[in-house]
Symmetry: C2
Subunit: 324 residues, 2 copies
C-alpha cells in the first residue's frame, strides 16, 4: 500500500503536460482558432501547467497542409504567434511520429526555436527510428521524451528490450502509453514498476499518457503517480482521440503542489471546451470506446461508429467481437 502521507504532500519532480491541441487535434483535424490556442496558453500559464504540447511536426510530404489545421505541422512561426518569446515558466512541446516527420529539416536548433521539448512517438516496431530522432533532437539542444505507443498488446519481453534500447539513448523521459484505453490500474502499477527499473538503471524519468475508454484515464494516471511516474499528460475536458484522455481539471484537483491551480482550468473548460461541444465536436467516453477498450483493440472502429452517428451499440459489439 502506498504511503499515507503521499496524498497530503507532493513530489516536486511531477510535471503536468497539456496535450489538448495535439491529442484534441486528432478529433477536429487541428481546427482550433488562434483565440482558442492563445486562451489555452494563458490558462496553462495561470494553472501552473509545466508543458504545453502544440501539436505534431508532421511531414508535409505525407500530409496535405490544406487538409489539416496548422497544429498538425507546428511551424515555429505559428507557435511564436501564440507565445511570443514565451517569457513564462510554461515550456513548449511538439510531437514527432517516427516515419511521419521530416525531423532533420523541420526541427530546427532549439536556440532558433520557441520549442523546448520534442516528444518522439514510436511503436515497438520502430525503436531504432525513434533512437535516431532522439539523438537528432538532443544534438539540436532539446529536452526529449519518447512515447512507446500501444503497449497493451505487446509482449513484456519485447517491451523490456525496447526500454533497454531507449535507455541507452540520451532521451530524458520514457512514456507509458495506453493507446487503446485497455489497461486497469493494477496493470499500470506493474508496468510502472517495469519502466521504473529502466529509469533507475539509465537515470531517466517516466511519464504516462492514458485514454479514457473505461473511465480509467484519471485513475490510471494517479495510480502511476503513486508508483513514481512523474510526467503526467492531461487534456482539458479530456479532449483527445476517441474516448479522450485524463482530464486536466481532474488532475489539477488531485495534485497538492500549490503551484497548480484548478480555477483557470474550470474557467477555460466553461468558456472554450463547452463551446466546442456545442458546435458539434464529439469526443469522450461512450459505450463504443468501452467495448474496444475491453477488447484491447485500436479505437478506429469506434471512431467511425461515432462519426457515422450510429447508436446501435449491440450491432457494433457483434461487429468488433467478430474481428477479434
Amino acid at each position: 500500500m502506498k504511503e499515507i502521507s503521499a496524498l497530503l504532500g507532493y513530489r516536486s519532480s511531477i510535471k503536468v503536460v497539456d496535450a489538448t491541441l495535439r491529442d484534441g487535434g486528432l478529433v477536429n483535424n487541428f481546427d482550433f482558432s488562434d483565440e482558442f490556442a492563445k486562451a489555452l496558453y494563458e490558462t496553462n500559464v495561470k494553472a501552473g501547467v509545466d508543458y504545453m504540447e502544440f501539436g505534431y511536426k508532421a511531414s508535409k510530404e505525407i500530409f496535405d497542409e490544406n487538409k489539416f489545421g496548422k497544429w498538425k505541422f507546428c511551424a515555429d512561426d505559428h507557435i511564436r504567434e501564440i507565445v511570443g518569446e514565451n517569457q513564462t515558466d510554461l515550456k513548449i512541446a511538439v510531437m514527432a511520429d517516427v516515419g511521419r516527420c521530416d525531423y532533420k529539416q523541420d526541427i530546427l536548433n532549439r536556440s532558433d526555436s520557441p520549442i523546448d521539448l520534442i516528444r518522439v512517438a514510436t511503436y515497438l516496431t520502430t525503436i531504432p527510428g525513434a533512437a535516431h530522432m532522439i539523438e537528432d533532437a538532443k544534438n539540436k539542444g532539446y529536452e526529449v521524451s519518447c512515447n512507446i505507443m500501444a503497449i497493451s498488446n505487446t509482449q513484456e519481453s519485447d517491451l523490456r528490450i525496447a526500454l533497454d534500447t531507449l535507455g541507452q539513448t540520451p532521451v530524458d523521459v520514457l512514456y507509458i502509453v495506453d493507446s487503446f484505453g485497455a489497461l486497469y490500474p493494477e496493470q499500470i502499477a506493474r508496468i510502472s514498476d517495469m519502466y521504473m527499473e529502466f529509469a533507475e538503471k539509465y537515470n531517466k524519468k517516466i511519464g504516462i499518457h492514458a485514454h479514457n475508454n473505461q473511465q480509467l484515464a484519471f485513475a490510471n494516471t494517479i495510480e502511476a503517480v503513486g508508483d513514481g511516474v512523474d510526467w503526467l499528460d492531461a487534456t482539458y475536458a479530456s479532449m483527445g482521440r476517441g474516448a479522450g484522455n485524463c482530464a486536466m481539471e481532474l488532475l489539477l484537483g488531485f495534485l497538492r503542489n500549490p503551484k497548480y491551480n484548478i480555477y483557470p482550468a474550470i474557467k477555460f473548460v466553461e468558456k472554450y471546451m463547452e463551446k466546442l461541444k456545442e458546435e458539434g465536436t464529439v469526443w469522450g467516453y461512450d459505450l463504443q470506446y468501452l467495448m474496444t477498450g475491453i477488447l484491447n483493440q485500436h479505437p478506429r472502429t469506434a471512431i467511425s461508429f461515432t462519426k457515422e452517428q450510429r447508436k446501435d451499440y449491440t450491432e457494433f459489439y457483434k461487429e468488433i467481437v467478430a474481428q477479434d
Copy 2:
C-alpha cells in the same frame, strides 16, 4: 502490489448488486415505467447480476405517495408484478433508511415477501437505529446489509467504533459508501483494509457503493475488489444521484467469472438508458460534481445547479468554495 493472477482468475464470493432503480430513482423521483423495470429485471437475470435493488421502503408518513414513483415505497405486490415468484438466481433487495422507514410494519416476514435482502442505510450518527433495523430484518428472515454513508468526512476513530458496533449485530455485509465521490483509490485501499479488519473479526462480508464525481466510481470499485471487497454496487449507464455510480457495463466488462455477461447490459443501455437521456433525464459526471467531490461536500448544490440548467461553472466554484 496485488497478485498478478487476480486479474485473470476470479473470486466466486463476488456479488454484483444492480442499484439502478434505487439510486437512479433519486434522479427522476422513481418515475420508471413497468416496462423499464421488467426489462431491467430480465437484463439482470441474463447478465448474471446477483441482486437487484428495487428502491426504498420509505415511510408513507414522511413521504407523500403522490409525489414519487412506486419504487420509493417498494410495496411487495408491486415487486411481484415485475418478478412474479422470481424463479431465478437473481435476488431482490430494497433499501431502508434509518429514521425514514416504518420498518416494523412495512417490512413483512421474508417468507411472505419476494424480497431477499434488506439494505439498511445509516449515517454515523444513527448506528444504534441501524442496529435495531438489522435485528428486525434478521428476525424476519432476511439477508441484511448496512451502508454507512458519507464516510469521507468522518473521523477514522468514530468509523472504527461504528464498525465494531455493527460487527456485533447479525448484519451480513458492511458497505463502504463514498457518498460525495470524494475518495481516491489509495484511500479506498486503506478504508478497505479497515473494514476487512472488522469483517474478519466478526465474520462479515464487505461491499462498496461508489459515486462518479471524479470519474473514479469504477476505479474505486475495482480497487476495492483487489483489496478483498466482495459486494459491488453498480447501475446501468451509471444512473444515480448527481454524478451517478459505477457503471454496470464497465464492471461486467472487468469481472472474469463466466457467469457474468456484458452483452445484455449493452443491449439494455442502448434501448432503455439512452432513451431516458433523450427524454431529458440528466445525471452523470460533470464539472459541478467534480467540484463538490474535490471539496468533499454533499452534492446537493451541484444537483440544484444541474436542475437549473446553469452552465456558469466558475461562479458555482466560487459559491461552493465560500461554503467551505
